[in-house]
């Protein structure tokens, strides 16, 4: 039976972004019945038992995150919706916000009802002007219709929702960077604990969830936890740390494919299915050389690893950072992995916030080495140095405050370990005189702005 889209069910309808079309398709019925018949605790329970895991990149169980909010706190509780979507390759939140903003709003309303938040902010990246227009219009419609504001649908539940625009900085997507940025400060991620659930925005209990996560909440409340758990990859009984990967998922696809785009499928399709069935194959009749599985931070896999499942544990099995945003970038057999890694190092050097020495120095030195290698002055020894950087920066070795450094490290580790031959060949070919050099070589002076 072909898979019936849920998250993207409305996007081909004419004027799908309007309240009239959303309501005609049954929109806001779930909210109405929840406010009448369900307590916040009921919603928390169904989200918990659905095993929904956050779609923003880390895959943290949403119900568990919500249950960390202190129970008897006088409040207020804040809800932040993460729409910063700046991970290279990632497009799905944009598609959702442009095409179906009310689905997201209904998810936010249910999530805030469950977490007793009376104020919510959507942190929206600056580069999404059409999303801003659509989301703001939807919010205005929702206020006018009584879905937002005081005593929603005559219940005791009140909610105010505001959009807060970013200013083109990737680190604002990290949840505590987001909070600092919202507070009007530089977006320096905070040392945790305390976690936002205990002390977050304006020092109050706070939940940060991704756009796609809150959209899933809407469908879970409507269709139930069993429905959600009937989709995806079940928990692995042999791995006690695998809570399963359930539910529908939005996949992004870009790079060298015939049909790039945003596609919905159950969690756990393989990279090959994504490329072949949804993307209609690699472009120009070529083969894939490498695929970034879920946003640049997740690293890279080889053509031999394309049967990897895109669920929360699949990419880990081939040494990648994780599922990330499930937005794959395909590189064909003609694309240089040296160029790939240079691009990656440049991105992270540009976006590091500079608080942690390993991240600030590691990202800029790796870029300077890649600049030099590209310019034909690389040494074989540079590969060892790059691996040393890759292996020592990040929250996974425990040397930095946030996960940006892991995102910088994984492409380095994966590209060099999985495509070492290509790097060695490049260095030998472009620097025949000096590739055996072991003494330090002067870096290229490209200190990122």
């Amino acid at each position: 039976m072909p898979y019936e889209p849920v998250l993207l069910a409305n996007i081909n309808k004419k004027d799908s972004h309007t309240l009239a079309v959303y309501e005609a398709g049954g929109g806001y019925r779930t909210l109405k019945s929840a406010l009448k018949d369900k307590s916040p605790g009921d919603i928390l329970e169904v989200v918990k038992s659905s095993n929904l895991r956050g779609r923003g990149g880390a895959g943290f169980p949403t119900g568990l995150k919500w249950s960390f909010l202190p129970e008897k706190h006088p409040g207020p509780v804040y809800f932040c919706v993460n729409a910063d979507e700046s991970e290279p390759g990632t497009i799905v939140n944009r598609v959702q916000m442009e095409a179906d903003p009310h689905q997201i709003l209904e998810g936010i309303m249910l999530s805030c009802y469950a977490t007793r938040a009376a104020t919510a902010y959507i942190y929206l990246r600056y580069e999404y002007p059409l999303c801003l227009k659509r989301m703001q219009a939807a919010i205005d419609e929702a206020y006018a219709a009584g879905y937002l504001g005081k005593n929603i649908l005559k219940s005791a539940f009140s909610l105010d929702l505001f959009i807060h625009r970013g200013a083109a900085a990737y680190v604002c997507g990290e949840e505590t960077g987001l909070i600092e940025s919202l507070e009007g400060k530089r977006a320096w991620p905070r040392i945790k604990p305390p976690f936002p659930a205990v002390e977050g925005l304006f020092r109050k209990p706070t939940v940060v969830n991704n756009i796609e996560t809150v959209a899933c909440v809407k469908h879970i409340v409507e269709r139930g936890a069993a429905w959600f758990r009937s989709i995806g990859t079940p928990a692995d009984p042999k791995d006690p740390r695998d809570p399963g990967s359930y539910g529908p998922k939005l996949y992004g696809l870009s790079g060298h494919v015939n049909r790039p785009g945003c596609y919905e499928a159950p969690l756990g399709i393989t990279v090959r299915e994504l490329i072949e069935e949804h993307g209609r194959g690699v472009w120009k009749g070529r083969k894939a050389k490498a695929v970034v599985p879920g946003g640049l931070s997740t690293g890279v896999m080889t053509a031999a690893e394309l049967d990897t499942k895109l669920d929360f544990s699949g990419p880990l099995k081939v040494g990648c950072l994780g599922l990330g945003t499930a937005c794959a970038i395909v590189l064909d057999e003609t694309y240089s992995m040296v160029d790939f890694l240079h691009n990656s190092c440049r991105f992270f050097a540009h976006e590091s916030c500079g608080q942690c020495t390993p991240c600030r120095e590691g990202t800029s030195w790796s870029l300077m080495m890649l600049e030099r290698i590209k310019a034909g002055r690389g040494r074989l020894k540079d590969l060892e140095l790059l691996l040393e950087i890759g292996d020592t920066i990040g929250i996974i070795p425990g040397t930095t405050i946030c996960g940006l450094a892991d995102g910088a490290a994984w492409p380095i580790k994966n590209a060099i370990r999985k495509f070492r031959g290509e790097f060695e060949e490049y260095i030998k070919r472009t620097n025949p005189e000096g590739y055996m050099e072991t003494e330090p070589v002067e870096a290229m002076a490209t200190v990122p702005k």
Partner: protein, 160 residues
């Protein structure tokens, strides 16, 4: 300084103040205020920073600290009539966006971050615009231009 010399007009101040009820602190209005000023003036010069700080009951250094974190806000002179962002991240770079950026630099005679002498265009590189499915992508003001080529850039430049 006499009040007539103020950079922030009364309606701009009112637009900033309209954000106060949204947040429990005035400091949280820093980014919205910077955006509002940047939209009206095309930049946020030091005097505007002082005036924003006064409106938000902050020290100018607090506003400057936040502003300088984001490479987004210019301080020395206003940006051009149109700001063009050319994506250089991996999905676009794999579809030759860097050649397009170089082409634009040569064509306009400026480097990324600079504005043409006639004040028409400010050219910028962008990190992933979230439009990788339309690579190479260029954001021009509020409009996303998809699957760009040199020929399409030529057409676009005629309209700016």
């Amino acid at each position: 300084m006499s009040p007539t010399e103020s950079l922030l007009t009364d309606d701009l101040r009112a637009a900033v103040r309209a954000h106060f009820p949204r947040y429990p602190t005035k400091q949280a209005v820093t980014l919205p205020a910077l955006h509002l000023v940047n939209e009206r003036l095309g930049y946020v010069p030091p005097q505007a920073v002082e005036e924003i700080a006064e409106l938000l009951d902050l020290a100018p250094a607090q506003v400057q600290d936040t502003l300088s974190f984001y490479g987004f806000f210019k301080q020395d002179k206003p940006q051009g009539k149109t700001r063009m962002w050319i994506c250089r991240s991996i999905a676009c770079a794999a579809c030759e966006s860097e050649e397009l950026l170089k082409y634009l630099c040569e064509k306009l005679g400026i480097e990324p971050g600079e504005t043409t002498a006639d004040g028409r265009i400010t050219l910028e590189f962008a990190e992933c615009l979230g439009a990788c499915d339309h690579a190479p992508a260029i954001l021009v003001g509020e409009t996303l231009h998809k699957n760009m080529t040199k020929a399409k850039i030529e057409e676009l430049l005629k309209t700016l």
